[in-house]
């Protein structure tokens, strides 16, 4: 990402942001609310257009992709949205299997993959439930399962541990590290200082739409 700017109604959300994340790397994106973390992730998914600059994801120029290329591009990216964005009228199994359904995989293949990933997030017994029947932490785990079931190249997580109990948060971070260890480039936006400080990974610190610091082993300075 090079020199990226983005504004909403004249209000800058990102100002000249430049970062590079290597293939297979794990990085935290930290900052207070309004720092620009979510906007940055949305741009990486091409959910949001940007004003100036260049964004390359998996070698693809994000600003240029349209139609079928965009569909193909998104299939290589797993996303855990801040608000989970689970389909409210679909069961856990249906939600998790969706990325494989859109690829036209056979139901039997999808069933095997769903069983596997649900067991990984310890939700094997909740497959037939609907999102409203799950706790906040469980919903985030479902969102994570949906994000990784198709074995993406890149995983983008927006506040994956927000508003959930510490046990669930630790479980989710453990899963993220596992997934990253399989070679998936992982970028996690968070303002959970405990997790950032404990993991001692790369930290990209944002404030008011700019990159304040980019540290190979960073800490979350809450002061």
């Amino acid at each position: 990402m090079q020199g990226v700017t983005k504004s909403y109604d004249g209000e800058p959300a990102l100002a000249d942001v430049s970062i590079a994340i290597a293939r297979g790397e794990f990085a935290f994106l930290i900052g207070t609310n309004g720092a620009g973390k979510t906007t940055l992730l949305r741009i990486l998914l091409r959910e949001e257009p940007f004003d100036t600059g260049v964004v390359l994801v998996n070698g693809v120029d994000v600003s240029r992709i349209r139609g079928a290329a965009l569909t193909k591009f998104r299939r290589r990216i797993g996303v855990v949205f801040q608000d989970t964005r689970l389909l409210p009228n679909a069961t856990v199994r249906e939600n998790v299997g969706l990325p494989l359904q859109v690829r036209g995989r056979a139901n039997r293949e999808i069933d095997v993959a769903v069983d596997d990933v649900l067991s990984r997030v310890a939700l094997s017994d909740k497959g037939e439930r609907f999102p409203r029947q799950l706790s906040g932490g469980e919903q985030r785990k479902v969102a994570l399962a949906r994000a990784v079931i198709s074995k993406p190249d890149v995983l983008l997580c927006d506040e994956p541990t927000d508003s959930i109990n510490p046990a669930h948060a630790r479980e989710i971070i453990g899963l993220l590290l596992d997934i990253n260890s399989e070679g998936v480039t992982t970028l996690v936006a968070t303002h959970d200082s405990e997790i950032v400080n404990n993991l001692r990974r790369r930290v990209i610190r944002m404030d008011a739409g700019t990159i304040l610091a980019d540290e190979a082993v960073g800490v979350f300075n809450t002061s």
């Binding site: 079928a68 998104r74 969706l98 359904q101 859109v102 056979a106």
Partner: protein, 297 residues
């Protein structure tokens, strides 16, 4: 190919699940579609019946051209054959002098002496025209009056004809205007109901797009759901229409037996098929258009 079949299977399954899981909205949309289409169909049936009634009244208005005694029969036959081909002319009947006398005697039984004192039959033969469209009567009468070698005189109930033509024109124009307006309202309400149903699920569309679904993968279930809602709503409307027609038409016919009302079953059958097709098309196109606006994610 296998992937496409899997997607097709998913789309069909997702449509059925979507209908069931959003059943309150599905039911609302089906009922709205049925009510709008039954209203439209009922009005189409009423309009058709009114037009039939006006046409039937028109058939009762006749033109009588009295044939000169010295007119050549072959010429009269020729004119009658020509008249039978004219648009708006229903039936052409030749009434001989003898028939005319018999009719007179039957109709004016108490004055039969008037005829008895005459040496010869004074009544002329005549050509009677029963019209399908009374609007052509005045021009036709003028034309026949011009044939002075054949006809003595031509009698037309012009005031009745003018009134009938006027009623017919107003009825048809008002009917057409109402049909256009009602069709527009019905289509708008049905399409809007589907639009609201899609709007309520716009987040689903966005989510599917963000996990890499193609546009057709997203819109497929919605189009099938829309077609289903339209089809079921329209079928209910068609059934209601047929039941109403079978129950109501005989009663109306009995009450106003002097006016022949359209009791043609094929008309109702065609109307029912038309309504079902309208429901199917509006439901699926309505969904297609409604989903399209949320696909640009």
């Amino acid at each position: 190919m296998t992937a496409k079949l899997n997607v097709l299977r998913y789309v069909l399954g997702a449509a059925m699940l979507g209908l069931w899981r959003n059943r309150t909205m599905t039911l609302g949309a089906v009922v709205t579609t049925a009510v709008m289409l039954v209203t439209l169909a009922a009005f189409l049936a009423i309009n058709d019946t009114l037009n039939e009634m006006v046409t039937a009244l028109g058939r009762k208005s006749n033109l009588i051209a009295y044939v000169r005694d010295d007119a050549r029969p072959s010429r009269v036959t020729e004119i009658m054959q020509d008249l039978e081909q004219r648009p708006g002319v229903g039936e052409v009947v030749f009434v001989t002098k003898e028939d005319a006398l018999r009719i007179f005697q039957e109709r004016f039984f108490d004055q039969r002496d008037v005829i008895d004192i005459l040496q010869a039959n004074p009544l002329p033969a005549s050509v009677e025209l029963r019209m399908d469209d009374p609007a052509v009567l005045p021009a036709l009468a003028d034309e026949l009056r011009g044939m002075t070698g054949v006809f003595e005189s031509v009698a037309v109930p012009l005031d009745v004809v003018e009134r009938l033509v006027s009623i017919s024109n107003v009825s048809r124009a008002a009917g057409t205007a109402m049909i256009v307006a009602l069709t527009a309202v019905a289509l708008f309400v049905i399409a809007n109901t589907i639009r609201i149903a899609v709007y309520a699920r716009r987040q689903e569309i966005e989510i599917m797009k963000l996990v890499g679904a193609t546009d057709w993968f997203v819109r497929g279930p919605f189009i099938i759901e829309g077609a289903f809602i339209g089809l079921v709503g329209a079928t209910l409307a068609a059934v209601a229409l047929v039941v109403m027609y079978l129950q109501v038409a005989p009663t109306i016919t009995r009450i106003i037996s002097f006016l022949p009302i359209a009791t043609d079953v094929s008309f109702v059958r065609n109307l029912a098929v038309f309504i079902v097709l309208v429901g199917l098309v509006v439901g699926s196109i309505g969904s297609y258009v409604s989903v399209r606006r949320y696909l640009a994610v």
